[in-house]
Symmetry: C2
């Protein structure tokens, strides 16, 4: 298969054109989001659905998250990520396969129908996570395009995937919220993968494998700025697979928690990695593709 | 001298009453700030003076900062703080003694008169710094009350000092701006200084010497929230010596820079440290007290 988005192969970063649409479906009045929302996702590469889940659904999700984080013995050991210096659980991968509540959340129309529309296809879960970051010592997460990694390391062929973060705790301006560079999804920034030829000239400029370069990031931010959506629990932040994003650390007492699902188009299933000898394990990047079925969904709130 | 604010002496953190005023001067129409501003500083422990310095003064300050950061050979070596992994200068201490421009800035009426009013006394510079933090890899600075350190380690007797940060680069919501807990200045949170008696019960809860405890910080934030003033270059952020503050790291491309002055009341000069055998060196905590004189001040902008 032709590599439309080669990365980590050259000594200098390049901006390549995105050859895939952002909104793959054609909007009609039956679409699960408004025409304005579709246009905003297309232009900015992200969309916030404010308090999509109400108090009852949220209580169910928070209780389930608490149970999962505190009974790691019930989970597949490789899916549990703990803090380096303690046994506190910080992330659980493949959570939709290990929790009926999370499976129902992933398949809930409020999320899955939006994914089907934006990706213009049936969808499946490429990756899922439950994330919990305590306050006071939350670490930063450096800028990256998920697609760059998924393409190079996992073999995702095209840009036809997106992420949804269901907030289980408030995102404030100060507790290290997700930051996005709106519009960055419209180009593919390659990462440096060989020692630059003129490395001796630029040895003070740290260049790391698979990391966007500072010069391109500076240019992107100058052009597009940075957004850091805030929101109450129950809010959903959706972003395109190629939107550049990251987060600062968090010294505030306010923890962060979310349920995180990556939806991929069924037609965009993984092939051999474009830049790695061996694909990453399936709990990080699903290779057993099962279309997400219609499901009872999560608890439906009573109409207001 | 009686220690009104004992800290780092007990196994448990305590909240002690502040026995000093916050605004030490009596407001009159001649005061350099409005009555509302004085009341806000009193209540919140901080005050933002938006773009106090205009483009001409700012250009002068930025040029001087550039010169100082790039010609470290001209400075006292002990006052220069470099990054651990390079020779890039990150802070220059005692900058008002090493730069005529910075001396004029410190003595400028727009700052010094506000300090004299809020502290109700003649003032001197307890500490000064020029700070530069590059983007991408800015580190966090954990919560602290400056007074706690200045009292314990430097021998500052009373709460009659304040800090002024003159922004030389924009403070945005995302580039790790100064965060303050408004109202926190009204109590004195002692830091733990002995191994707690029940340490074996709580050994997973990290307790560090001279650092506020997480429980008290959580309570303070629950009660008062967090503010992170944003502002353009030329803006001045003033905060009381006992206002709890800190900052997150900064992965954005936007660097941060400021000129930082601590004004202390002349009547509040340092004595022997209340919790250290030996005071810190004078470039960190001035012991040679010279009242700040009226000066020509920095470039005065033409009236608009």
């Amino acid at each position: 298969m032709k590599d439309l988005y080669p990365s980590r192969q050259e000594a200098n970063a390049r901006l390549l054109p995105r050859t895939d649409p952002v909104v793959h479906g054609a909007w009609t009045p039956d679409a699960p989001i408004t025409q304005e929302q579709a246009a905003q996702f297309d232009a900015d590469g992200y969309l916030v659905l404010d308090q999509l889940f109400g108090p009852e659904a949220l209580a169910l999700l928070q209780a389930e998250a608490h149970t999962l984080l505190n009974t790691p013995g019930a989970l597949a050991p490789e899916t549990i990520i703990t803090e380096p210096d303690s046994r506190d659980v910080r992330s659980i991968f493949q959570v939709h396969d290990q929790s009926a509540v999370m499976a129902r959340l992933a398949a809930d129309d409020r999320l899955a129908e939006v994914a089907r529309f934006l990706l213009g296809d049936e969808v499946y879960i490429h990756q899922s996570r439950l994330n919990y970051k305590p306050g006071f010592k939350g670490k930063e997460f450096y800028w990256h395009s998920d697609f760059e990694t998924w393409h190079v390391e996992d073999g995702m062929p095209r840009m036809r995937a997106l992420s949804m973060s269901v907030l289980l705790a408030p995102n404030t301006a100060n507790n290290g919220p997700l930051m996005l560079i709106p519009g960055s999804h419209r180009v593919f920034l390659t990462c440096v993968g060989e020692t630059p030829e003129d490395h001796y000239l630029s040895s003070l400029k740290k260049q790391e494998y698979g990391v966007p370069d500072e010069e391109s990031l500076t240019q992107m931010v100058r052009e597009h700025g940075i957004v850091a959506p805030t929101g109450e629990p129950g809010t959903v932040v959706i972003f395109d697979c190629n939107t550049m994003h990251g987060s600062n650390g968090n010294i505030t007492p306010l923890p962060r928690a979310n349920a995180f699902f990556v939806y991929n188009a069924l037609s965009n299933a993984l092939v051999r990695p474009f830049g790695a000898a061996k694909p990453r394990p399936p709990f990080i990047a699903a290779r057993d593709v099962r279309p997400l079925l219609k499901s009872p969904g999560l608890l439906q709130e009573r109409a207001a």
